[in-house]
């Protein structure tokens, strides 16, 4: 027992609904105390994965362990996890207090421990004074907190959150992001949350698993996912990027279809078809001829300009391709449509994605 046990360990799990494969052979280990995000577009299998951890859906094949204990086929009431549901699923016929007490009562926890733990949970989510209200008398943010308290009062080993902030407006969502992060540090347990919002995933989690069409495409820290996407899908889904079709050169560089050579590290064998990912905010514009063509630049012509206040976005035609350049904190507008320019970037900003 020297190796730390993963909080959640998913081994070759597949879930089929009739003939639709919702989750396709997923392997994933989530560490103890980690804030982990499952990110992907709707229908990618992230919610089904979460529901399988909760026990609300059972895997078709594969194994699922929580702190080393096999629970793949166990009913939800036999698992040391609790869930915050997407629309909260608060019991409408119960008061805030009755909602929060529910799990403890089901596990036959008696007073004084019962009332003490409920009081602590209510204090933790700052709902004191609201105990006797019913869910329909609360705002969205308050309902969200009741849902959190109702789950956390049971002291689960893992807390599962299904799009927890999806029903809130933007300002409240940003507040709740901070609150959730703080809450996770306070209670110190593993949080697994599902979201389709990549900014939310980047802002909140320690690690992200990106899913698409039932497959887990990449797992990594927000920085790894953003800076070193493993596939076109991940590069494109997380933030904005320019994906330029290219072929791997024999000299460890890549060549675009236009013939331009770009220096970028890759382990893919020469001759492979790849794409180069260039983040718009990592590129800059200079008048043509002032930058040396050292494998970190492309010549083009400004086609369109979008002024956003805090940034200016240029669309630059490079041969038959179009490259987006995002320039932040710029004063004035030195370039106009039709200007001959050079798009350049720092070493390491161009990333090769193989598939």
């Amino acid at each position: 027992m020297t190796e730390p046990v993963a909080a959640v360990e998913i081994d070759g799990v597949t879930k089929r609904f009739d003939d639709v494969v919702a989750v396709d052979n997923v392997d994933l280990a989530i560490d103890d105390g980690e804030f982990f995000a499952l990110l992907g577009p709707s229908g990618c299998g992230k919610t089904t994965t979460l529901r399988m951890i909760a026990g609300l859906d059972l895997p078709t094949t594969g194994s699922l362990r929580i702190f080393g204990e096999e629970v793949g086929m166990a009913p939800p009431d036999r698992r040391p996890v609790n869930t915050v549901f997407q629309a909260y699923a608060l019991f409408p016929h119960m008061t805030v207090r009755q909602n929060i007490e529910f799990g403890l009562r089901m596990r036959r926890v008696k007073d004084p421990e019962l009332s003490q733990r409920v009081a602590e949970a209510i204090a933790m989510v700052r709902l004191a004074g609201m105990e006797e209200r019913r869910p329909d008398q609360l705002s969205g943010g308050q309902q969200q907190r009741v849902a959190l308290a109702r789950a956390l009062v049971n002291q689960p080993k893992v807390l599962l959150l299904d799009e927890p902030l999806g029903a809130l407006d933007l300002k409240l969502r940003q507040e709740m992001q901070q609150e959730l992060k703080a809450l996770q540090r306070t209670v110190g347990i593993t949080f697994v949350f599902v979201t389709h919002d990549q900014e939310e995933a980047l802002a909140m989690s320690e690690r992200i698993g990106v899913m698409s069409e039932g497959r887990l495409l990449q797992v990594g820290t927000p920085r790894e996912i953003y800076e070193r996407p493993a596939s076109r899908f991940v590069a494109d889904f997380i933030g904005r990027t320019n994906l330029l079709e290219a072929t791997v050169d024999s000299s460890g560089a890549v060549r675009l279809s236009s013939g331009a050579r770009i220096e970028a590290e890759t382990s893919v064998p020469a001759g492979s078809e790849v794409a180069v990912s260039l983040r718009p905010e990592r590129t800059r514009l200079q008048p043509r001829g002032t930058a040396s063509a050292d494998g970190h630049s492309l010549d083009g012509e400004v086609r369109d300009i979008t002024y956003l206040g805090h940034a200016v976005v240029y669309e630059v035609a490079v041969g038959s391709m179009s490259v987006e350049v995002r320039s932040e904190g710029e004063v004035g507008q030195p370039f106009a449509a039709g200007d001959a320019v050079t798009v350049s970037w720092d070493r390491g900003a161009a990333t090769v994605v193989a598939d």
């Binding site: 549901f85 699923a89 409408p92 016929h93 799990g103 789950a151």
Partner: protein, 284 residues
């Protein structure tokens, strides 16, 4: 009102419609008023006013045949309501939740007793009981029509009504609430008892009230399947009419009217109390 632009109906049309509404209202309620007024008539002639009297009420309440009919009606109504609420709710849950062989057929036919005419239902049940008795009697017992056949028949049509009302409620039910309960360590049974049942209870109560009313109201089916000593009140009233309307019948009808109004007011009061209870918590 001044300043409000009239759209659609002109003033004349509106007056006519209002007058028409009053006519319809009178059409509905004048017979009831006549019935109630004449139940207090001291004369033994139904259509001649002989002064105010409570005499016919005394007569009706001391008539042992009537008392027995009331007793039968209440027993049948109670038993058929309880049984059909349990069975109808179970059928509604099964149709809502599970996929099983014959589900579609059951789904399509469970409502049949609502649409087929009472008289068809009555003949069907009578034939059914006759055949069933023939079969069972061949093993020894001698069964006859009586209070249990009336109760069984009422259960047979009430299940459909309860089922329809409960299913309507289940349609709006959010299944994630059950998932939440399961996630919070409730067993399947506890989930049903503490989450599902309380939330579909208004539907079950409405179905039960409907069943109670339909059972107390039924004449045609009860008349066919009742035997000696198992006459319900509506059947008694109906058969007495053939001997002529007496002020006694007016008194009974008025009592039945009062009972059903009390039932409706009672359920309204219950709903209102619940609504105000939840409003009070809002103020706090």
């Amino acid at each position: 009102m001044a300043g409000v632009v009239e759209v659609g109906l002109g003033r004349r049309t509106r007056r006519w419609l209002a007058a028409w509404a009053w006519v319809v209202f009178a059409f509905l309620y004048v017979p009831i008023v006549v019935l109630v007024v004449f139940s207090f008539n001291s004369s033994s002639r139904v259509n001649i006013w002989g002064g105010f009297s409570l005499g016919w009420y005394g007569e009706a309440l001391s008539n042992e045949v009537i008392i027995s009919a009331v007793r039968v009606s209440l027993i049948v109504a109670f038993v058929s309501t309880v049984v059909s609420v349990v069975l109808g709710t179970a059928v509604a849950l099964a149709l809502d939740r599970y996929r099983f062989r014959g589900r579609r057929t059951l789904d399509g036919t469970v409502y049949l007793p609502i649409v087929i005419p009472d008289i068809t239902m009555a003949v069907m049940l009578l034939v059914f009981f006759a055949e069933a008795f023939k079969l069972i009697d061949s093993f020894g017992p001698r069964l006859t029509l009586g209070i249990s056949t009336v109760a069984l028949s009422h259960i047979a049509f009430n299940i459909s009504f309860v089922c329809v009302v409960v299913r309507a409620r289940l349609d709006q039910f959010d299944r994630t609430l059950e998932e939440a309960a399961r996630d919070l360590y409730a067993s399947a049974w506890e989930t049903f008892r503490r989450v599902t049942l309380p939330l579909i209870m208004p539907g079950i109560a409405a179905g039960g009230l409907l069943a109670l009313t339909l059972s107390l109201d039924d004449v045609v089916i009860s008349a066919f399947v009742s035997g000696p000593g198992s006459t319900t009140l509506p059947v008694y009233v109906f058969s007495s009419i053939r001997r002529g309307v007496t002020p006694e019948l007016n008194a009974i009808s008025t009592l039945m009217l009062a009972a059903s109004i009390a039932l409706v007011l009672g359920s309204l009061a219950l709903q209102r109390r619940r609504a105000s209870a939840s409003q009070q918590t809002q103020v706090l």
